[in-house]
Symmetry: C2
Subunit: 259 residues, 2 copies
């Protein structure tokens, strides 16, 4: 399993991901699910990936190949498979980049659909693509396994892929578009840690990336491995806060008037 979250703030973008991959419970390994692309000084993208690892790796490999081929002036071999769509270097808008990744993902899945179906396995993958192209707003897209995409808005500023339920309530209760980048990063990291507590197939290292708007660079990047004291300290703070909250919750009528 996987849990990735992206947050679109007024001040920029925040990304968080875990690194656990499992094929069954008896084959667990570590892979980064956060990929940064800086194809030119006027654009920057972060891609978070969940789902079938072969699919997500193939999509990342094809993105890189297209960038190499196109930036060297050659005609991109894979651009045909993406329907001649602009790639990360030639896209003029972020939605075109999301469209490109969605089409790569569907193409990869179709390559293996027949053989996967025969074994009852799924080649599906989901992505979060965030970034900015000069002249355009910074933005954040969730790309479904079917290739289409939805974007984060002011009302719904965060997007999740993978094991999204355990870690969603803190984002729902505290998250909004005017958080500082550091606070949003802290919240996303806490959302990862909470998810890991309840689902062992989500696990560290946890990765964080912060991308301020209009700067076209990752300003901060952090990787916390499982022995990092930050994780335990965050869990302690969270546990104590919940214990305090429990004591502050309204009393029941019968507690105010004991029999």
């Amino acid at each position: 399993m996987t849990y990735c979250v992206g947050f679109r703030l007024e001040a920029g973008l925040v990304f968080a991901s875990d690194s656990r991959t499992n094929a069954g419970v008896d084959y667990i390994s570590t892979y980064s699910k956060m990929h940064v692309f800086e194809p030119a000084p006027d654009r920057l993208f972060v891609l978070l990936a969940a789902g079938n690892l072969a699919t997500t790796q193939a999509v990342v490999n094809r993105i890189r190949r297209d960038l190499r081929d196109n930036s060297s002036g050659e005609v991109g071999g894979f651009m045909a498979a993406a329907g001649g769509r602009p790639d990360l270097l030639s896209a003029r808008h972020l939605f075109e980049a999301a469209d490109y990744v969605g089409h790569l993902s569907v193409a990869v899945q179709q390559d293996f659909a027949t053989s996967l179906r025969q074994t009852g396995a799924s080649g599906e993958a989901s992505f979060i693509l965030g970034g900015q192209i000069r002249g355009d707003e910074h933005g954040l897209y969730l790309i479904y396994p079917q290739g289409n995409a939805v974007m984060a808005t002011e009302d719904t500023p965060f997007l999740q892929i993978g094991e999204s339920k355990y870690g969603k309530p803190p984002l729902d209760y505290v998250g909004h578009k005017n958080l500082t980048l550091d606070d949003a990063a802290r919240l996303c990291l806490m959302s990862e840690i909470i998810t890991r507590r309840s689902n062992l197939t989500v696990g560290p290292p946890f990765e964080l990336a912060i991308m301020p708007r209009d700067r076209f660079q990752i300003s901060r990047r952090l990787k916390l491995d499982k022995n990092d004291p930050e994780i335990n300290r965050a869990m302690e703070v969270w546990t104590r806060s919940m214990q305090d909250a429990l004591q502050r919750l309204p009393r029941f009528p019968w507690e105010q008037m004991p029999l």
Copy 2:
């Protein structure tokens, strides 16, 4: 959808349930999912139900019929369908009662399996059965759609059915077997409210029942409907606690040493 939780404490049992039932998103109605059975002074049971409403209602109806038939001295018409197993009145141990409910559930599901399968619908249902029979410990069982059951233990004191993920982290972080009954009830209610915030198919009225050990009665029962100010006050306390927690979480290295 549904979300029910039962908590087994040293001091007794706590039960919480929502009341929303939906057949698609365009047919939403309200049904209690908490059923109390007091077939004799030496025993008390609370049954929480999730899944197909026709199945859970049929199971409850058959439990009631068996109790009526058996307590009046007649031979229970449905006991045969439960394989001649002891019912809630004749069971000597809680696990026998869980076994009985599990077999009723499977029998009901099998009655309609063929026609349901043809329409692609599922007749599955899950139950939480808690209670106590004199001479035995108080206990709590989760009964799977397949009829078998697991019980709560000291290490895993709470059990959930239905939409269990959103509301699990507070139980994981703060829940333990030595909570007071009132604190555990508050925690279970908060877990319901959190789940409702993230999944609209879980909704009020929320019901709570508290059953102290060795007393063979429900000491407290509460039903909070959607306009109850308790729900809003609990959400405010929880939101404020999470905001405080966010401010208390460890700073990132770069925040301590600004550039």
